[in-house]
C-alpha cells in the first residue's frame, strides 16, 4: 500500500509551491510519485531516491584519491579547518533551512569567517540596491489578488520558475482579478525572445546591457519629459506606450531576474527599477519583487540579517560585522587570495563560480556539505553527504516575497544520515572545544 502526503512544499525554486502531494510507501522510505509540481520540482524529489546516492563522507588525499571516512573524522577535519584558518569563507546556505543557517552563523562568528550566500552571484546586487534606496514590495498573494500590470524584466519564469505565472502572476483569478490573465497586461523586457516573452502584450527587445537606459527612459516618460527617438534600441513611442500602460493599471508589479542583476550596471539597474516603482506610486499602486532562485536564498538573507545586520557577504574576521560586496564577497575574496579555507553548504560554486575562483577553492582546505555529488565535490577536500531539506527533514524556508513557509518532511533519510543542522551542531561543539570556549 502507498499513502499520499499532502500540503508538501517544493524545495527547489523561490516560488516555494506549497500545494504538492507526494505518494510514498507505507514505511515512509520511498517516494513513488509527485503531483502538482513542475518538472524541476518533481525531479528534485525523485532525485533523492537515486540508488547511487552518496551516504558516507569522502575525503580526498594529496594525489586526489578518494576514500571513505567516518562522520567523526569529517566533523574533526571541518572543525580544525575552520578553527585554524585566518579568514575562512563559509559559502552557500541557499538550499537548506533557516535552522541550519543560524548555526552556520554561530560558527562563522566564533571563527571570524566571512559568511556569504548565493545572492553574491545572483540577487546580491538587488540587496545592495534595496539598502541604497529602499523597496516598495508586496507578497505574491497580493499579486494574485490585485495586480493587473505585470512586468518581467530580465527573467524567464516559463523556464526558471515554471509555476510562478499560473499560481501568482498571470493566470490565476484572484479576489479583485476575477478575469485572470484576460484582465492583466504583461510586459516582458528581454533581449531574447524567450518563452515568457512570446506570451507578452508588449515585448521590449532591448539591446543587451542597456537596461539602465531603458529604465531611466521609462522614468523620463512618466514625468512627461522629452525623450530621444530611440533608447536601448526601443522606439520612443513604445516606451511612452509602456509607461501609459503601467499608469493605467490598478496595481503594477515588476518582477526581475538575473538578466538585470548580473548584467552591465548590476545594482544600479535595480535601484533605478525601484525608483521607477516609486515614481509609479504617484500614479497608481506599484511594487517590485526579485525572482529569487534557490528555494531558501531569501531565508539565508533573513537569517544573516537578524544575526549580523546584513543579508550576504558578511565579514566577521575583525569581530564585528562588515559588509561591502566587492571586498567581502566570495569571488572577490577568492580572486584576491583573501581567504585560506572554504566551507560550502547548500550550493554549488563548482558549477556557478568563474573557473578562476573554482581553481582557488581547489588549492585550499575545503569542505562541501551536500546531499548530491556536485562539481563542487570534485574540487573540495572533503564531501559530507546529508539529508535533503524539504524532502527528508522539514524546517523554515522563505519564499521570494520573504514569506516564511515551513517545509515538510516527506520520507525518511537513509539510515545514519545526518541533517545539515545536526552536522553543523557537531562541528560547532568541536570548534568550541578546540577554542576552549564553553
Amino acid at each position: 500500500m502507498a499513502k499520499i502526503v499532502t500540503d508538501v512544499v517544493c524545495p527547489f525554486c523561490g516560488t516555494l509551491c506549497d500545494d504538492l502531494e507526494v505518494k510514498v510507501t507505507d514505511d515512509d522510505k520511498q517516494i513513488l510519485e509527485v503531483y502538482n509540481a513542475c518538472v524541476i520540482g518533481t525531479e528534485k524529489f525523485l532525485h533523492s531516491q537515486a540508488k547511487d546516492r552518496l551516504k558516507v563522507p569522502m575525503k580526498q588525499d594529496e594525489e586526489g584519491n578518494w576514500s571513505e571516512v567516518s562522520i567523526n573524522e569529517a566533523v574533526e577535519y571541518t572543525a580544525q579547518m575552520l578553527a585554524k584558518a585566518k579568514k575562512p569563507l563559509m559559502y552557500g546556505w541557499s538550499s537548506t533551512n533557516c535552522e541550519a543557517q543560524s548555526i552556520g552563523g554561530e560558527i562563522a562568528e566564533l571563527c571570524g569567517a566571512v559568511v556569504d550566500n548565493t545572492a553574491t552571484v545572483c540577487h546580491g546586487t538587488t540587496l545592495i540596491a534595496v539598502q541604497d534606496v529602499g523597496v516598495p514590495s508586496c507578497t505574491l498573494g497580493e499579486v494574485k489578488n490585485r495586480a493587473d500590470r505585470i512586468i518581467f524584466w530580465g527573467c524567464n519564469p516559463a523556464h526558471a520558475h515554471p509555476r510562478h505565472m499560473s499560481r501568482y502572476s498571470i493566470f490565476p483569478r484572484g479576489f479583485f482579478t476575477g478575469k485572470g490573465h484576460k484582465a492583466r497586461k504583461m510586459i516582458v523586457v528581454d533581449p531574447r525572445t524567450t518563452d515568457t516573452a512570446k506570451m507578452a502584450d508588449i515585448h521590449m527587445q532591448l539591446e543587451q546591457g542597456r537596461d539602465y537606459e531603458l529604465l531611466s527612459a521609462l522614468r523620463v516618460a512618466l514625468r512627461g519629459a522629452p525623450l530621444p527617438e530611440k533608447v536601448a534600441g526601443i522606439p520612443r513611442e513604445t516606451i511612452i506606450d509602456a509607461a501609459e500602460t503601467l499608469k493605467s493599471g490598478r496595481f503594477v508589479v515588476i518582477f526581475f531576474g538575473m538578466g538585470v542583476t548580473q548584467s552591465l550596471s548590476k545594482n544600479h539597474n535595480i535601484d533605478i527599477a525601484i525608483m521607477l516603482t516609486k515614481d509609479l506610486n504617484e500614479h497608481t499602486k506599484a511594487a517590485i519583487m526579485p525572482m529569487r532562485g534557490h528555494y531558501n536564498v531569501t531565508g539565508s538573507g533573513e537569517v544573516l540579517g537578524w544575526q549580523f545586520g546584513y543579508p550576504f557577504s558578511v565579514d566577521l574576521s575583525r569581530g564585528f560585522a562588515r559588509y561591502n560586496p566587492g571586498d567581502s564577497s566570495s569571488n572577490d575574496l577568492l580572486r584576491r587570495d583573501e581567504v585560506d579555507a572554504v566551507f560550502v553548504l547548500g550550493s554549488d560554486p563548482g558549477a556557478h563560480f568563474p573557473i578562476s575562483s573554482v581553481k582557488k577553492i581547489a588549492n585550499l582546505p575545503s569542505v562541501c556539505v551536500d546531499p548530491h555529488y556536485t562539481p563542487t565535490t570534485a574540487v573540495c577536500k572533503l564531501h559530507m553527504p546529508v539529508a535533503f531539506v524539504g524532502v527528508e527533514v522539514g524546517g523554515c524556508t522563505y519564499r521570494m516575497d520573504a514569506v516564511p513557509i515551513h517545509a515538510r518532511k516527506v520520507v525518511d533519510a537513509p539510515e545514519g544520515m545526518l541533517t545539515d543542522e545536526e552536522f553543523l551542531k557537531m562541528v560547532l561543539k568541536r570548534i568550541k572545544e578546540i577554542k576552549g570556549v564553553a
Partner: protein, 266 residues
Amino acid sequence: METVTLTIKKQPDLRLEAEKITPDAFAGKSAAEIADLPVFEGRETAKLGTYFDVAGKGGATAAETKIVIKGDASRVKYIGMKMTAGEVLIEGSADMYAGAWMEGGKLVVKGDVDAFAGTGMKGGIFEIGGNAGNYLGAAYRGDWRGMQGGTIRVKGNAGSDIGYFMNGGTIIVEGDADVHVATHAEGGTIIIKGNGKSKIGGQMVKGDIYVFGTIDVMMPGFVYRKDVDLEVDGTRATFALYEGDMGERHGKRKGEVIYGKIYQKY
C-alpha cells in the same frame, strides 16, 4: 616636519588591514611605538613592525608628520584612512580603501589604487599616479553621502562607479573612466579628460561632469541646452551643456529647477 619611513619586509599571506597607517596615528610616536601599532590579517592581530621596517619618528602633530611607504603595498588596505592632516607618500601601489573617509592632508600614491579609494572623502588632496579601481570617491554601502569634499586626481584611468552618491569635492581623471560616473550624485565635480563610457550622470540630482573625450551613449534623461566656453582644469574650450537627469527629482533655487550638468568638450 618629521618623516616616518615604512619599508615592507614581509608580505601578508592574505591581505593586511592597516588603518593605523595615518599621520594622526603616528604623531607623537617613536619608531618603536609605531612598530607596535596593531594591524590585522584575517582574524589575527599583529604588529605593524611584523610587516614593515619603521625608521624615523612622528612629528608632534599629524600636520607635522609625513609617512613614506616603500616597497609593494598592493596587499595593504586602508592606508591613510580617516587622515586629517600631514602627508602620506606611497611609492608603489596600494590596496583597497586608500584614503577612505580622508578629511585633510595630502595622500600621494605613485602606483595604482584598488577599489573604494577615497570612499566618503571629506577633505584633503589625494593624488594617484597610476590607475584607480572601481568606486573611487563613492559612498560606502548603504550611505547616501559619497565624497563630500577635497580633491582626487588620477593620472591614469578610473574604474566604474566613480563619485557614486557624491555630493561635494572634485575628482579629476586624466585618462578614461568606466561606466557609471556620478550615479545618484547630489553635488561635486568630476572631470574626465579621456573618454567616458555609458551611464554617465544616471539618477543625478545635482553636480557637474566634464568629459573631454567621447561618451558611448548619453543617458536618455539628459537634454542639450547650449554651448559654453569654459576653462576646465587649465584647458580652455567650448563645451556642449546637457542637463538632467530628467527622470530624477530636482530641487529649486530662486524659482528655477537645478539640474545635474554634463559638459562635453567639442
